[in-house]
């Protein structure tokens, strides 16, 4: 790399120091490049283009909050003692002095009360964890709803799903570490989940806890997972996620000059680096403000875990809320057969539903590409309305998630809204089935009506807000044609593929399973695209424009001839 010293020299006068400095920088760069070959790598990437849109930064929130988690987490490890050895607390918090507790709990109290900034770091760590998972989730929604998961990004979609899973496990293990009453209650429930596992349940529980619950092994074991195993996996997967992002280049919204073959935006250096770097400081800063202002998990009030104690409002952190909600609304199903016990009331909500949801998420790109037969690469995003069924599927899943989630807070809802827990539970038992269906139908029709609205704008122009009165006394709103750029953006989308007809399949000579599969696929694809509005053809647009111009002329000439000379049409 050559260093341009002309400017440096002028701004700094004529002293030779700067030139020397520049030479030194050049020498260092040369030294490094001769050993690392940085030049070729940087040549490609230093001005790499990233498109700008707010929704592209949601994943960045997750990335930066992960960095905040690493930083605050390292601080906490300096004092936290992951041991379940029972000691008598003799720290600064009076009301617990003399109480027996695990070293883990005592060191958590020490971090909170005897390390300056320790309580702040604890709270920042906890808030950052909640934001980490929340931002991964909305990032995932953005990717799905805009179709960014399509080829060639399916693998990155799967990595993202795994990150969400790992983030959740990381959160749960961290939540369990302080050994306070709430975290202990969570671990107790986890023990119940494990015991409900068919055949090997009690063995799994005894192995995990190093004996009978609660044992004295669970916190050291969770600690190892929480600070070593899972963060390591998270880091590796995040690296893979980012490398693939760089390799595929970011998707972009369609628009003038923005096509499937290019990516338009700002170069990494300087604008994107500044924006991303600045955003890191903002995420860090917001987390610090939250850590300083809002209390989270006041362990000193909960006291140490004791299997005989419990508190009202025993909830897990939000990301574990939805299986907990299902656990609350499941009917008391338990089968006793030939001396064995099958706990459907635990297995279905905890051991079946969350893995099933994850599987569904991971499979979504493949189901869609099988169904639509679309095997092309896609780099332009779709607006959610232009894939009505896809959007509706995600909204249905979100509705299921949201209702289960709300069920997880049924006791809080009951006291805050003066309702009966029992009635909420009965309602939710039905709502988790009916709600997603209703949400699916509404979303789908809503999307299609938005498509129609877009078509209307394309063909008949946008509502200008200008009212004109004809000589006959009738009023009409003047529609003006869309600016070229906007019109192009609206039409820059693929037509939906036309599913095979049964005759085509028959004619192709397919037989047996292949025949049935293709018929099923054709039927599903027909349903998938049913009622979607396709973009108008060039002729349709031309004709509509022609028609509109004609109408406008007519209207204007009438107005010019009529008494209302100063009508708004003059503007």
């Amino acid at each position: 790399m050559s260093v341009d010293v002309s400017k440096v020299a002028t701004t700094n006068g004529s002293t030779p120091a700067t030139t020397k400095g520049a030479q030194r920088a050049g020498a260092i760069a040369n030294w490094a490049d001769e050993r690392l070959g940085l030049g070729s790598a940087m040549k490609k990437n230093i001005r790499k283009v990233f498109p700008d849109h707010w929704s592209f930064m949601l994943g960045e929130i997750a990335l930066w909050s992960f960095v905040v988690l690493l930083l605050t987490g390292v601080f906490l490890t300096l004092w936290f003692d992951p041991s379940m050895t029972e000691i008598q607390y003799n720290g600064s918090y009076d009301p617990l002095r003399g109480v027996h507790m695990s070293s883990a709990m005592a060191s958590t109290l020490d971090i909170s009360f005897d390390v300056r900034g320790g309580l702040l770091m604890r709270q920042m760590h906890h808030w950052a964890a909640m934001i980490f998972i929340a931002s991964m989730m909305i990032h995932m929604l953005r990717v799905y709803l805009t179709g960014a998961f399509r080829k060639p990004r399916e693998v990155n979609w799967i990595i993202g799903c795994l990150l969400l899973l790992l983030g959740t496990i990381e959160g749960f293990t961290g939540y369990s570490l302080p050994d306070d009453l709430l975290s202990g209650t969570g671990v107790r429930a986890a023990d119940g989940f494990m015991k409900a596992t068919p055949v090997v349940g009690t063995y799994m529980s005894f192995f995990l806890f190093g004996g009978e619950f609660p044992g004295d092994a669970i916190i050291p074991r969770f600690y190892a997972m929480h600070i070593l195993l899972i963060p390591g996996l998270l880091l590796a997967l995040i690296a893979a996620h980012m490398l693939l992002l760089v390799y595929h280049k970011h998707t972009q919204w369609p628009g003038p000059g923005r096509t499937e073959q290019n990516v338009v935006g700002y170069p990494m250096l300087p604008v994107y680096a500044a924006k991303a770097g600045g955003f890191f400081f903002i995420v860090f800063g917001v987390t610090a403000l939250m850590g300083g202002l809002f209390s989270i998990n006041n362990v000193w009030k909960l006291g140490p875990y004791d299997p005989s104690k419990v508190t009202a409002g025993s909830q897990p952190d939000w990301y574990m809320g939805w299986p907990d909600g299902l656990l609350r609304i499941i009917p008391p199903w338990e089968t006793h057969l030939w001396g064995i016990t099958i706990s459907w009331n635990v297995m279905l909500p905890i051991l079946v539903m969350p893995p099933l949801m994850l599987m569904i998420l991971m499979a979504l790109p493949f189901i869609e590409s099988w169904l639509t037969g679309d095997k092309r690469e896609h780099h332009l995003l779709q607006r959610p309305r232009n894939a009505p069924t896809r959007t509706a599927i995600m909204v249905a899943l979100m509705t299921f998630y949201g209702l289960s989630w709300a069920a997880g807070g049924n006791d809080i809802i009951a006291i805050k809204l003066h309702l009966s827990i029992n009635q909420i539970t009965y309602f939710m038992r039905g709502a988790v089935f009916i709600g997603p269906v209703i949400a699916f139908i509404i979303t789908r029709r809503w999307c299609i009506s938005l498509q129609r609205h877009d078509e209307g704008k394309l063909l008949h122009g946008f509502e200008s807000g200008v009212l004109v009165r004809s000589p006959e006394g009738g009023y009409a709103e003047k529609h003006l044609p869309l600016p070229e750029g906007q019109a192009y953006t609206l039409t820059a989308r693929d037509d939906d593929p036309v599913p095979e007809t049964p005759e085509q399949i028959e004619a192709s000579g397919a037989t047996g399973r292949d025949l049935r599969a293709r018929k099923l696929r054709a039927r599903l694809a027909t349903l998938f695209f049913a009622d979607n509005v396709q973009k108008p053809t060039a002729e349709e647009i031309h004709e509509a424009q022609h028609h509109a111009e004609h109408e406008l002329h007519e209207l204007e000439s009438q107005i010019a001839a009529g008494p209302n000379r100063h009508g708004p049409a003059d503007h």
Binding site: V263, V271, I282, V310, Y488, T491
Partner: protein, 366 residues
């Protein structure tokens, strides 16, 4: 970039929006006020510098707050809040935010903002590359001869596969086998001479039947946890982790109700539970049969006991029957009586395992 041989590539055929309207191309770049007006440029420059300056001030304030505000057993308090946490959080947060906002302001107002267009390449490798890669792989495999020597291949696969076993087997010592541990609690450790007394949790005093009034709910533990010698139990058996293990199974609630309200059920061996109570005092396991939360949210008027975790509700007047919620089994009842001194004691251990269900739970023999 032309891939005529592959119709699925992004360049293949009809794809890529051949829309009804021609692409007008990237709009012309428009300058920002800061690009064209030196006064505005200077102003933006000053703003960025001021933001960075404010950050520095906040950092200094952070350091001052760190050394000024006391924590430990003598927290400085401002407006009812711990001053240290709040001041540190505010100053640190602002110091970071000012840098972040300043950098972004810089990027938005002053850095060049020409949009650049970069060409994409298909994710797949070129055909030439593929060919070379496949050839290299084939060559490598051929030279190793693994395809031609199934004996070596199969024995290697077998040997490596077998190596998975140590990885699994070595986890064996994570914990002991369950054995019969889940079937028993320390309530069964009482003797004829010293039946297991029921004591108040946290207060650790035994309870006379006459102490309780109708409507009283007592959270209890077995006396052995506090007083092991009396039952011939080694004190180390009820310390530390062992104490927690015992509590997680033996925690008990006593409820005194009108004796007429109680509907005695059947014990596991089919006998009546009529003599399991003392003057309307009933004793139940405090551990929920759903996933094991301790429960003691009792409604005195209905004798319904609610679990705060998942809202299973049990009727304590009716053998702990489940009246609502996800729990699949009634709460285990403890048979109680009084000892020579009139204190409440357990007659014997629970006649079923307490706590959450597990697969082999019904293989229960005492």
């Amino acid at each position: 970039m032309s891939d005529a041989h592959d119709t699925h590539s992004p360049q293949g055929g009809e794809i890529v929006p051949t829309g009804p309207i021609a692409d007008p191309g990237l709009p012309d770049h428009q300058w920002r006020p800061t690009d064209v007006d030196p006064a505005k440029e200077k102003r933006a420059e000053r703003q960025v510098a001021i933001l960075f300056g404010l950050s520095a001030v906040s950092t200094v304030a952070f350091l001052v707050a760190y050394f000024t505000f006391d924590i430990g057993d003598n927290w400085d308090v401002i407006g009812g809040f711990g001053a240290s946490t709040m001041a540190l959080g505010l100053t640190l947060g602002l110091a970071l935010l000012f840098i972040g906002v300043g950098v972004i302001h810089w990027a938005r107002k002053l850095m060049a903002d020409h949009e650049i267009s970069e060409l994409r390449h298909p994710a797949r490798s070129s055909d030439d590359d593929r060919e070379v890669a496949v050839q290299a792989l084939t060559d490598g495999i051929n030279e190793s001869g693994i395809g031609r020597r199934p004996l070596i291949r199969n024995s290697l696969l077998g040997a490596v596969g077998l190596l998975g076993l140590p990885a699994i087997v070595m986890l064996r010592d994570l914990g002991p086998l369950p054995g019969k541990k889940l079937y028993h609690t320390i309530w069964g450790s009482g003797t004829k001479q010293a039946p297991m007394r029921i004591v108040r949790d946290g207060i650790w005093t035994p309870i006379l039947a006459s102490d309780l009034e109708i409507g009283d709910l007592v959270n209890c533990q077995p006396d052995a946890l506090h007083n092991p010698e009396r039952y011939g139990i080694d004190p180390s058996e009820v310390e530390g982790v062992n104490l927690q293990i015992h509590k997680s199974k033996a925690s008990l609630i006593l409820l005194r109700m009108n004796p007429g309200d109680i509907k005695p059920g059947k014990a596991a061996d089919g006998s009546s539970r009529a003599n399991w109570t003392v003057d309307g005092i009933v004793a139940y396991s405090k551990i929920c049969t759903h996933v094991g939360c301790p429960i003691s949210l009792n409604e005195r008027t209905t004798h319904h006991l609610l679990c705060p975790c998942h809202q299973s509700t049990f009727d304590l007047a009716d053998s702990g029957r489940v009246v609502f919620g996800p729990a699949g089994r009634p709460l285990p009842q403890l048979a109680i009586s009084v000892d020579d001194e009139g204190y409440l004691v357990a007659q014997h251990d629970f006649d079923e395992p307490v706590g959450p269900s597990f697969w082999e739970r019904d293989y229960y023999e005492r």
